[in-house]
Symmetry: C2
């Protein structure tokens, strides 16, 4: 990957990353049912960038630049031209120590900056283990509802459900 | 627009532009039926960036930075959340003197670099008025077919048609 390293050494690679993530990056906070979780819900913050195969090399550049995450592929057998590749970071440690500090130092310019702020707040709350309390989890679900143009109706239901006391689950 | 100007003065704005265009930019060469054109076909190269309303301010930044193009809006009355805004440059002079030199000096990193090369070649050919010859126009149509994952089947037809001698048209 000498080429990638050289690319990263070009001056301004940080700002290229900001611009590319302003376009293609996605900060998301899915909250889903997970019976084994303390409150029956799991919060899984994820930062991801997706590219079609002809540009997948830039995902390797990002992986190398940030030194975290992984690159995977969704094979497509329909009439699309290209497989879709995806670099994603889910590790809370990597998000907290590598991804978030970078975008704090090099701010996004689009409305994605607001998604990043919410995302960053959720990761911080999880570091304080607040997602393990009903109040914290409800707060996180409320933030997640407002991210990525998520349709409120779909998610409010979960948020309401979180506010209920957890039900015992059969394992 | 002082804010925008200040943003552009931040170091590295050029690389942010490259990254953002690697993600969101589109170099296209539509070729369409135009009875009043010499050969009955018009070639209209366009460079465009589209953003939903919450990030439309960056299109103004791009307009100011490049000093050309225009920003318009597609109002959306369906169940989408936001109007879509679009900065586009069609003037051959602006493409030749402002857009193309910028991306020659600051190369794109994704597969969009190849789209840009073809786009740039078409604009150069048009500067030499080669789109007004059957041979030049066929060459351009052939290039356009391979751009932006265009489905070949849809476009080959035009390209084949271009290779036919122009038919007299009723105006």
């Amino acid at each position: 990957m000498t080429g990638a390293v050289n690319q990263q050494e070009r001056p301004g690679f940080e700002q290229w990353v900001v611009g590319f993530v302003d376009g293609e990056g996605c900060f998301s906070v899915p909250v889903f049912r997970q019976p084994s979780a303390k409150l029956g819900w799991q919060v899984q913050p994820e930062f991801a960038v997706v590219q079609a195969a002809p540009s997948a090399h830039v995902l390797d550049d990002l992986l190398q630049f940030f030194g975290c995450g992984r690159v995977g592929v969704n094979r497509r057998r329909d009439n699309h031209h290209h497989d879709m590749w995806r670099w994603s970071v889910r590790s809370l440690v990597d998000l907290r120590e590598r991804i978030i500090p970078f975008f704090e130092e090099h701010p996004l310019r689009t409305a994605k900056a607001r998604e990043f702020e919410k995302f960053s707040l959720v990761v911080r709350m999880m570091g304080e283990r607040r997602h393990l309390t009903v109040e914290g989890l409800s707060h996180i679900a409320g933030l997640a509802e407002t991210m990525n143009f998520r349709k409120p109706s779909r998610f409010l239901e979960s948020s309401e459900a979180i506010r209920q006391p957890p039900q015992p689950t059969l394992r």
